[in-house]
């Protein structure tokens, strides 16, 4: 018999002088499924499905057992009658292959539907399908002898054009796969744990149905995850509109121990049908969106500046230091917000002041770097650069390192305000340098990340990204991590500058990352706060603030705080990425919070500095 290179039957072949192959519907491990025409009905076009079993086991005994299993299974199918189960018309063997002739079901499997939609399904829709499957399972399990499906998954559920679900592929192929030696590839991610002990039980089908529903509701493919890990991915993490009762039903069916699941498909069906009372079913848009921005959080104090506060506060020795667009650096009492002193410059102050001994060091858009006595509120020195200073200072080895819009990084002697060396890049340096050992890491708006020798400012390495690097680097283990305006968060090898991973967001990352316990947190102009695994760059969670984020996160006890252009400060659970609270100010917040002894300090473009209970 002429065959295609892949071993499938070509169109035009006629089996048993009756079934004319029209085309391949799908190919599986044990053979193909074809669309065929039944020639016995000459005046009408009757389409059937032909399912092929390629019985190629080298051991004749295995071949014989396989054939017996196939026939037994075909006989069971023949004894079933349910609208959601395809009818079987015939079965036969020909040239080492066995064939089933089945009702042809026009439609789309849930597997291909999932691929097409690429996002979580509506709870109403999934509950409706779940109820239909419970109904078939109740029929199969109540059959004499009971039929356990054993292989329920999205690929075996066919959504017909009329909206009804059919259960296809009765796991016949699986029987052929037994008896192999050595390593096998098992599990499709939907199978219950007991199945691997050889236990086939009705409650195993409930597990597989719940696993399928979990996949559709969460959008997370269990075939890409370790088996039996559904409870680590609660659906509500991915689908906030999910009714809790549905999460509970799915989760109960996914219990490891089958005694803890529903006793039967009928019981599971009852629990599912109680989730959306029938009068509301298919009303659409039923999802609970009872979001209320409960503003019961009271600031400990606020302080009004003359202009926007884009600068990020620094707290030291009971004093908050913060700059404003009104050109002043303010010193405020951290306890009550009372004014201590202010130091005027000739330009806006947008960076975070740095504290070293009695000095507060910061840059201004008047192009100067200032050192101000913290006790007196008076200038100790000023050092002029060739551009606006938006970078924040770092001090080490008695030197202050700070970038300027003139493209330079300056190393300035802290005592005298003298420049020790200058490193010139090809774009403004707004990123704040990071000092690790004797190396300085920084980003430049010329798109390069640089590692400089602290003593000389010589370049150890540089790494090029396509857009500006305004975000300030952070170190974790042997990685230097920083965001880019190209939308990525990059992790570079600290020693060599080679990229280890990058994490993609959908907007420029101007926010500076922070690291805590192996997790990197960073904001993006796409509106999200992201938590990313530091060693691999894989997403742990994301939190939507609803507006672009340029503020950099701060870490508190089990919490991440960040400002957003939605005019609010957000407090998010560090482990789960859930909102704990949200405090709305009167303007967008590019300022980054500082957490100190249970209080969060942050500025807003509404001109205020806020002290909030963290």
């Amino acid at each position: 018999m002429a065959r295609h290179p892949e071993g499938t039957l070509p169109a035009g072949i006629v089996l048993q002088e009756r079934y004319e192959i029209l085309g391949v519907q799908g190919v599986g491990g044990m053979g193909a499924v074809y669309r065929a025409r039944d020639l016995r009905f000459s005046s009408v076009t009757k389409i059937v499905a032909v399912k092929e079993m390629n019985n190629t086991a080298p051991d004749p005994r295995v071949r014989r057992i396989s054939l017996q299993n196939f026939e037994r299974e075909a006989n069971i199918l023949a004894s079933l009658s349910h609208p959601a189960i395809p009818k079987i018309f015939d079965y036969f063997s020909e040239a080492n292959r066995s064939y089933l002739i089945l009702e042809f079901v026009e439609g789309q499997t849930l597997e291909s539907l999932i691929e097409e939609r690429k996002q979580p399904f509506n709870p109403e829709e999934v509950v409706e399908w779940g109820l239909q499957v419970c109904d078939v399972l109740a029929y199969l399990h109540g059959h004499e002898p009971p039929v356990i499906f054993r292989d329920l998954k999205p690929g075996n559920l066919m959504l017909r054009t009329d909206g009804r679900l059919m259960v296809i592929d009765f796991g016949i192929a699986k029987l052929f796969e037994h008896g192999q030696r050595g390593t096998m590839i098992g599990t499709e991610g939907y199978s219950p744990p007991e199945q691997y002990r050889g236990v086939a039980e009705p409650r195993g089908d409930l597990y597989a149905l719940a696993a399928t529903m979990h996949h559709m509701l969460s959008g997370r493919d269990p075939r890409l995850e370790p088996p039996f890990t559904f409870h680590e991915r609660p659906i509500q993490l991915f689908n906030p509109n999910l009714p809790e009762a549905l999460e509970a039903v799915v989760s109960k069916c996914l219990a490891y121990d089958l005694q803890e699941r529903y006793a039967s498909a009928t019981e599971m069906g009852k629990a599912l049908s109680a989730i959306f009372p029938s009068q509301f079913r298919s009303a659409g848009g039923l999802g609970p969106s009872q979001f209320t921005p409960a503003q019961d959080l009271k600031p400990r104090w606020t302080f009004r500046c003359e202009d926007e506060v884009r600068s990020s506060p620094r707290v030291a020795d009971g004093v908050v230091y913060v700059g404003s667009y009104d050109t002043n650096l303010y010193a405020l009492d951290a306890q009550n917000g009372s004014f201590l002193w202010k130091f005027p410059t000739q330009g806006g102050i947008v960076s975070r002041p740095c504290v070293d001994g009695d000095l507060a060091l910061f840059g201004s858009e008047d192009a100067n770097v200032y050192a101000v006595s913290r006790s007196a509120g008076r200038q100790v020195w000023a050092c002029e650069t060739g551009g606006r200073v938006r970078s924040s200072a770092r001090v080490e080895y008695g030197h202050c390192f700070i970038g300027s819009d003139d493209g330079c990084l300056y190393a300035i002697n802290v005592q005298f305000g003298r420049v020790a060396w200058v490193f010139q890049s090809a774009g403004p340096i707004r990123s704040t340098p990071l000092l690790v050992g004797e190396v300085i890491y920084l980003g430049s708006d010329d798109g390069y990340a640089y590692a400089l020798e602290m003593g000389s400012g010589h370049v150890k390495w540089k790494y090029s990204t396509p857009r500006r690097l305004t975000s300030s680097p952070v170190a974790d283990e042997n990685l230097i991590i920083l965001g880019s305006a190209d939308g990525y968060l990059y992790a570079l090898n600290a020693g060599a500058g080679w990229p280890v991973w990058r994490f993609r967001t959908r907007g420029p990352v101007l926010s500076s990352p922070v690291v805590e316990a192996g997790t990197v947190y960073v904001g993006s102009a796409d509106g999200h706060l992201y938590a990313v695994e530091a060693s691999t760059g894989r997403e742990r969670w994301k939190y939507d603030t609803g507006a672009p984020v340029t503020s950099s996160p701060a870490i508190g006890e089990g919490m991440i705080y960040i400002g957003s252009n939605d005019e609010a400060v957000h407090a998010v659970d560090a482990k789960r990425g859930d909102r704990v609270w949200r405090y709305v100010t009167g303007g967008p917040i590019p300022s980054s919070p500082t957490v100190h002894e249970g209080t969060l300090y942050i500025g807003s473009t509404d001109h205020y500095v806020y002290a909030l209970p963290a």
Binding site: T183, G189, W461
Partner: protein, 305 residues
């Protein structure tokens, strides 16, 4: 060579105000070794590799594939940078397809890593992040197997050494260990159903002998593949060991460590490990790759010399 004041090794932050002038001497750029010992000669930090593989007495074929390659990059006053690529793959599938799958995956992964990490490393440095190259190197093999060897599969463990860093991408139940004399640490997780059943309390150790080789993740299987990605330090005096289950299924971790510790060289260690696994019954193919940085072999040779 004495260190200047405040010149600690990388990662140690010198006391602020310990000096008021900037450090001027250049420390080593790569390597976490003592700056004072920066003799910068290859012999100071040898990087030696071993590889051994055997079909074993029970199986008809050797379905394992493996690769070990390394070189040094020495430039300017930097310490020579050890660079290495190590791969172990264990194929599965009848009619000789298993050995084709492991060989294909191994070669495609090596080609991809060499093209996107090693060759750029000789020019401006890699542009694509290493983790992405590793993930792609596995995905390419996965797709090739699905396309050309339907039904077959393979495990694949790829380790990339760059200086002090080792980056690992892993799928299946091959293993990567990090060892030092007297100490062996398993880095990878076996993607086997048995391990998961044990973890969730749905099987006892004695139940799982036959389930051991059922994998829930392998190249050639499933809609897509997402390898585990690991990043570890490979310090001087430690070694990286990759093996297939034909080794760890026959020898305990303690036995593996003990054999490595007394072997005169990495190559001898690999040969001894394979021989011992076969002596235990060698029910499966056995493959082991070992990459050692310096100790203990050098020390032992010094003593012998």
């Amino acid at each position: 060579m004495a260190s200047g004041p405040g010149l600690g090794g990388r990662g140690t932050v010198p006391q602020r105000r310990a000096c008021s002038s900037l450090p001027t001497k250049r420390g080593p750029i790569l390597g976490r070794g003592e700056p004072g010992e920066a003799m910068q000669q290859l012999s100071a930090q040898p990087f030696e590799i071993g590889l051994a593989t055997a079909k074993g007495p029970v199986r008809d074929r050797n379905e394992d594939a493996s690769l070990a390659a390394h070189f040094f990059l020495a430039q300017a006053d930097q310490q020579p940078l050890p660079v290495g690529l190590f791969i172990v793959a264990d194929g599965m599938g009848g009619h000789g397809q298993g050995e084709q799958a492991s060989s294909l995956a191994c070669r495609l992964a090596a080609e991809h890593v060499i093209r996107h990490v090693y060759l750029p490393a000789l020019a401006d440095g890699p542009a694509v992040p290493i983790n992405e190259v590793l993930e792609e190197s596995i995905d390419i093999g996965h797709r090739a197997i699905v396309r050309r060897l339907a039904g077959a599969g393979t495990t694949l463990t790829v380790a990339l050494v760059l200086g002090d860093d080792v980056h690992i991408a892993h799928v299946g139940d091959g293993r990567a260990y990090l060892g030092q004399p007297g100490h062996l640490r398993l880095l990878t997780q076996d993607h086997s159903v048995a391990e998961r059943l044990l973890e969730v309390g749905q099987a006892r150790v004695e139940d799982i002998a036959s389930e051991r080789r059922v994998l829930y993740k392998a190249l050639g299987h499933g809609p897509g593949i997402r390898p585990d990605i690991l990043h570890e330090d490979l310090e001087v005096g430690s070694y990286l060991l990759l093996c297939c289950d034909g080794l760890w299924g026959m020898l305990s971790d303690a036995e593996i460590a003990a054999l490595v510790d007394v072997a005169p060289s990495p190559q001898m260690a690999c040969r001894d490990l394979v021989a011992q696994a076969i002596a235990r019954g060698g029910e499966d193919n056995v493959t082991v790759v070992l990459a050692a940085r310096g100790w203990p072999w050098t020390a032992r040779q010094d003593r012998a010399g």
